[in-house]
């Protein structure tokens, strides 16, 4: 069984935001909710690096550990999903998440949080695969169609990789050997304890 993982290769990420708009496009995520975003360090000075971040689908997901209504579940592929019908928008998962992934629609400046939204690894949610209801709540279910997350598939430089963790690691390892650098699997220790 595959164990799905994301990896962003900071040597290649150019902060073009294709991953961000691909996500918006695929799931019609509304203005103000960003399941994926690109973070830049040392902006504008030598050493500038960018990295694309979304829910990493952690092995022992902290969001699931703190959720008071237990709306999270992990698929057989290791993808962390949640049930929006159960979610009460309490925001605990946001505090627990090491990657800042959970998003909340803002009703107004001081309004209620609304139900949490996050990256699904393009795997939809608990409703029937590829149903209209699933699309409306969670976006498109590419995994059920045998495809991988669109953000990684459309990455301009193939910096963002998604798929079975072993394959992702193989691709990345080859790159690291070729360019003679040290591996920098940003976020993997936190997400996958590896």
């Amino acid at each position: 069984m595959a164990r799905m993982k994301f990896l962003c290769d900071a040597e290649r990420c150019i902060e073009c935001n294709a991953c961000v708009t691909a996500c918006k496009n695929e799931h019609e995520v509304p203005w103000g909710v960003n399941r994926r975003r690109v973070v830049v360090l040392n902006d504008g000075v030598p050493g500038e690096k960018s990295i694309s971040v979304a829910c990493m689908h952690c092995t022992d997901a902290p969001c699931a550990a703190v959720c008071p209504v237990d709306c999270f579940y992990t698929t057989d592929d290791g993808i962390v999903l949640h049930d929006k019908d159960l979610c009460i928008g309490c925001g605990y998962c946001f505090y627990a998440c090491p990657f800042g992934a959970p998003q909340y629609p803002q009703q107004s400046a001081f309004g209620v949080r609304g139900k949490m939204d996050k990256c699904t690894f393009c795997a939809g949610g608990p409703t029937a695969d590829n149903s209209d209801a699933e699309y409306a709540k969670y976006g498109r279910n590419r995994i059920a169609e045998g495809k991988l997350p669109l953000c990684a598939e459309m990455c301009s430089t193939k910096a963002l990789l998604a798929g079975d963790g072993d394959l992702v690691a193989d691709i990345y390892r080859q790159r690291v050997i070729r360019r003679g650098g040290r591996p920098q699997t940003w976020g993997w220790e936190t997400a996958y304890q590896s």
Binding site: E11, R12, I14, E15, C16, N17, A18, V20, T21, A22, K24, N25, E26, E28, P30, W31, G32, V33, R37, V38, V39, V40, L41, N42, D43, G44, V45, P46, G47, E48, K49, S50, V53, K84, F94, G100, P105, Q106, Q107, S108, A109, K115, D117, N130, S131, D132, Y135, A136, K137, R140, K147, L150, E153, M154, S156, T157, K158, R175, R178, R179
Partner: protein
């Protein structure tokens, strides 16, 4: 779905933990956008409605048949493949095109969001006119009739040259070709497009060096480079997918060098970065060449065989000692030498340049200096080398080749009587009729003889405003411009915004034909005489598009035109009908329901474009390439097996001869390692056969299989006879070729026979390092008109003023005579953002993109900010040297050097602090508006092409 309704802008709560201490552009913007983004959405359409409309229209439906359509991204000239999923005529999904030879599935932010075109919620939805200051819906017929009547009246009183046809790099090749033909038949050379203000100095400089004015290799070929030098370009934002190929090379050890005033995101990935003062490209290039000559790194054999004039270059370069280079450019000796060393020791090395090099008063000097550098290193005509000139819009290469320009007919034939006769033959119309369409007066002289407007260059787009505002006595045509047609062109990409506003207000008629209203709809204060006509996007029609590397890709139609929009070719035909030349316009082109058949347009330009080999790419061959994306090897772009085995993807021009000749296209220009018949080539014999008693022909260098075995002049009927090859022509070909040459023989026979004998039809000559026909034969440095280094003006002065160039007086010395650097102490320059393209009207109307860049800003160095009491995120005024003021947000960053202010140029809709959102037609205002950078950019035009100077001016800043 309640959960994810669009309500208001996000609160950026989680970013700080990643961003740490450093503030990045997007944190900054999103913070600033907190109120603005929400306001932009909320004030224009109730949020609930928008979301509902979107969801119901565009979401993929379960259990509905899905059609997969192949197209090509419409944003930049990398030319990424697009797979569109369409259900019931609605564009519901976008899939990565993994089998596409250029992009291999990749997109940037813009490409990954093109499906929004299929919703077009902020599109211009129906023909609209301005009546008493209010937008009023009209029918297409009414609009065409009213506009046509007004144009015919102007034609009668002021002549055909008083109407300006501003076309677009967003046209397909077929539309570009038809558009060029359209204004030829209207009877004027007053037409142009974006190439004038992006790479005109490249086309002129490069074509005059070695024959063709285009990228010599390809993005994919950069995989084979051992060093890549990018000057004045920022591909991580402007051409992101090209970086995929550069990283491929880099990870195999290639060195990436970035020469650029600003520490761009590309520079962040460079092995070596050279910061220069804006406008000192010649100086830095000669500075590198100084080290190359000093150390004997030049390729002497290449120079001896294939270059003319390098000795004169050496004399100029000798003046550019490391000390002088540092004084002028700011780059020290070690840094410059290292760049030169990396290029020399890692050959083949390639040279990439973009707007940072081209948009200057000496743009043509810059581009030629880059060419000379590559000639000196022997990097031309080889895989991994070349001048990889990245073009901007998706079809700016094609529109340039079709010469939607004011100085040439399609295929760079020029405007001479011979050129007009050639195209009259292709169009199968009477040359006398074409001539009769033009103004018969004469308003200027050439070599002492009066010349007619038919044969003189029209106004360039960079200066159409002077065509309106300049005193009639000073312009070389009958009357000023009175009507302006913006057909797919944003006004905010042109400098001198306040004067443009004046010009727009002075016109009798302003017509905007575009999928979006553009800033042309709102930047003036007219109350009448403005028409907005909705054009379809390229996803709502079909045809071919030429990517930066000269290859032609076929696009299929994804969806039917949205709302009441029409494809450009249909609108052209409607106007041709109204204006009275529809019959000649489409004499050999089938017309269905007012829509000229695209394939017939392709076939027609196939019959005429012999000069640059746009003749072999028939619609059938292009469609076969599109069907077989997967058979092309991304390392070579050559098909391996399959139905188009051995051909190069998209038949990159020159694709010689007729389609039946099956030339595979030329993947790398001037590459002598292959026979011409298999895509090999040599430098073009374009400038005669000798100069000052020296031969200009190549010496002992020729493509594999060349039977002459040396340099030779271009082919004509006479040369074929002299060589004894005349009888290789068939009887029909002989009849067609008699009295013709390789450019005008409509049978293609001369080309066929030349290539049969292994010869390039255009001859085999040396590249010329010295262009004796240009104002500066040897490229030299000249200070910008508005220079921050007035102390250097005495040594490096600009040109004298000119009385008439492109029908207009041009000022140089009279502007530089005054020192502006005291009052305006900071350098003002501009550039791109990855989320937006060009004037930005289209991309700022795409919510997926607009959300990522919500505020116009100015990058300012911390030292300058502190000197002016400006803090990051504050509103400031940036005042240009001609007095225009921009109210923008300050982004304090070390990305720019002290003394430099950088502006992105994609914004519009604010004017000197005033938000003009209310002036857009209802529901067609882009999500994000802002000050247009070019409002504050100033006068200054290239000495050969009238390219605008938009990369180097002066400004001052203060807190707002």
């Amino acid at each position: 779905m309640k959960l994810i309704r669009k309500k208001a802008a996000e609160v950026s709560s989680s970013r700080s933990r990643f961003a740490g201490e450093a503030i990045d552009r997007r944190t900054f913007l999103r913070r600033s956008g907190l109120a603005l983004g929400g306001a932009a959405v909320a004030t224009t359409l109730p949020p609930l409605m928008m979301r509902k409309a979107q969801a119901s229209m565009t979401a993929p439906k379960a259990g509905v048949d899905t059609k997969l359509v192949k197209s090509v991204c419409t944003h930049c000239a990398v030319g990424c493949g697009v797979y569109a999923e369409v259900q019931n005529g609605v564009w519901t999904g976008q899939e990565p095109a993994f089998d596409h030879p250029f992009s291999l599935g990749a997109h940037c932010a813009k490409g990954a969001s093109v499906r929004e075109h299929g919703h077009g919620e902020r599109r211009l939805k129906y023909p609209t006119k301005l009546v008493g200051g209010k937008w009023q819906k009209v029918s297409w017929d009414e609009a065409i009739n009213e506009i046509g009547d007004k144009m015919l009246e102007i034609r009668k009183t002021s002549g055909p040259d008083s109407v300006y046809w501003l076309g677009s790099a967003k046209f397909s090749n077929e539309q570009s070709y038809l558009f060029r033909k359209f204004y030829a038949m209207w009877g004027s050379n007053n037409g142009d497009h974006q190439a004038r203000i992006c790479h005109s100095t490249t086309v002129a400089g490069v074509a005059n060096t070695w024959g063709y004015g285009a990228m010599t290799n390809s993005m994919n070929d950069m995989r084979h480079s051992k060093a890549i030098m990018i000057v004045g370009g920022n591909p991580t934002e402007a051409h992101p997918v090209s970086m995929q190929h550069m990283f491929y090379a880099k990870e195999r050890g290639a060195k990436l060098i970035v020469v650029e005033p600003r520490f761009t995101r590309t520079a962040a990935h460079a092995d070596h970065y050279v910061r220069i003062r804006p406008g000192t490209d010649v100086a830095i290039t000669w500075g590198m060449l100084w080290h190359i000559f000093e150390n004997g790194w030049e390729d002497k054999e290449f120079i001896n065989q294939r270059v003319w004039g390098m000795d004169q270059i050496r004399e100029e370069v000798a003046k550019w000692t490391p000390a002088e280079v540092e004084k002028v450019t700011g780059a020290d000796e070690a840094t410059v030498k290292e760049a030169a060393r990396l290029m020399a020791e890692n050959r083949p090395s390639t040279h990439v340049w973009c707007m940072g090099g081209t948009q200057h008063t000496i743009g043509n000097n810059n581009t030629r200096s880059y060419c000379v550098l590559q000639l000196a290193l022997g990097n031309m005509g080889t895989s991994g080398g070349g001048t990889n000139i990245f073009r901007g819009h998706d079809n700016v290469q094609g529109a340039t080749d079709m010469c939607v320009l004011s100085h040439s007919l399609p295929g760079y034939y020029g405007l001479s009587a011979g050129a007009w006769k050639h195209w009259s033959r292709v169009w199968d119309v009477d040359y006398d009729w074409v001539q009769s369409r033009f103004d018969q007066g004469s308003y200027e002289k050439s070599k002492g003889k009066p010349v007619k407007p038919m044969n003189t260059k029209g106004f360039p787009v960079s200066r159409w405003i002077d065509g309106v505002l300049e005193d009639k006595a000073n312009i070389a045509q009958k009357d000023n411009l009175r009507a302006m047609v913006f057909w797919g062109h944003a006004p905010n990409s042109q400098t001198r915004g306040l004067e443009m506003k004046k010009a727009m207000e002075k016109l009798d008629l302003l017509v905007i034909i575009d999928p979006y209203p553009t800033a042309s709809a709102v930047m003036h204060d007219r109350s009448d005489g403005v028409y907005l006509l909705p054009a379809a996007t390229q996803f709502e029609t079909y045809g071919s598009v030429t990517a930066s590397n000269r290859n032609l890709q076929w696009r299929d139609k994804v969806i039917e035109p949205l709302f009441e929009s029409l494809p450009d070719q249909t609108i052209m035909y409607k106007f041709a009908k109204k204006l009275g030349f529809a019959e000649q316009f489409t004499k050999h082109i089938k017309v269905n329901d007012d829509e000229p058949l695209i394939e017939d347009a392709t076939r027609e330009f196939n019959r005429g474009m012999w000069t640059i080999g746009y003749t072999g790419q028939s619609p059938e061959r292009l469609k076969a390439h599109q069907k077989n994306w997967h058979t092309f090897n991304p390392n070579t772009l050559q098909a391996e097996g399959g139905p188009v085995d051995g051909e190069y993807y998209g038949l990159p021009w020159p694709c010689w001869g007729t389609p039946e000749m099956k030339h595979p296209g030329t993947p790398i220009l001037y590459d002598t390692s292959k026979p011409v018949a298999k895509g090999g080539l040599n430098f073009r014999a374009r400038f005669g056969v000798e100069r000052n008693g020296e031969s200009l022909l190549a010496d002992g260098s020729y493509p594999v299989g060349n039977e002459i075995g040396d340099g030779h002049p271009e082919f004509s009927d006479k040369l074929l006879k002299e060589l004894g090859w005349w009888d290789d022509l068939s009887a029909d070909e002989q009849a067609a070729a008699e009295g013709r040459n390789w450019k005008t023989d409509l049978s293609g026979g001369i080309q066929r026979v030349a290539i049969k004998h292994g010869c390039a039809p255009f001859g085999n000559a040396r590249a010329r390092a010295v262009v004796w026909t240009f104002p500066d034969p040897v490229p030299i440095h000249r200070e910008p008109l508005y220079t921050s280094r007035y102390d250097l003006v005495a040594k490096y002065p600009t040109y004298e003023d000119r009385k008439s160039h492109y029908r207009l007086p041009v000022r140089y010395a009279s502007i530089q005579a005054k020192d502006y650097s005291k009052e305006y102490p900071l350098i003002l320059t501009s550039g791109r953002l990855v989320e937006y393209e060009g004037g930005g009207d289209e991309s700022r109307s795409n919510p997926w993109l607009a959300e990522l860049q919500q505020e116009m800003f100015a990058e300012i160095n911390p030292a300058d900010a502190n000197d002016h009491g400006i803090k990051d995120g504050q509103q400031i005024w940036v005042e240009g040297a001609e007095g225009a003021r921009l109210k923008v947000m300050a982004l304090v960053t070390r990305r720019v050097a002290k003394g430099v202010v950088w502006l992105p140029f994609h914004f519009a809709g604010h004017l000197q602090g005033e938000d003009r959102r209310a002036k857009y037609p209802s529901g067609a205002d882009p999500f994000v508006l802002g000050e247009a950078a070019n409002t504050a950019l100033t006068y200054g035009y290239d000495s050969v092409t009238q390219m605008q100077e938009s990369k180097c001016s002066l400004c001052k800043i203060e807190r707002a």
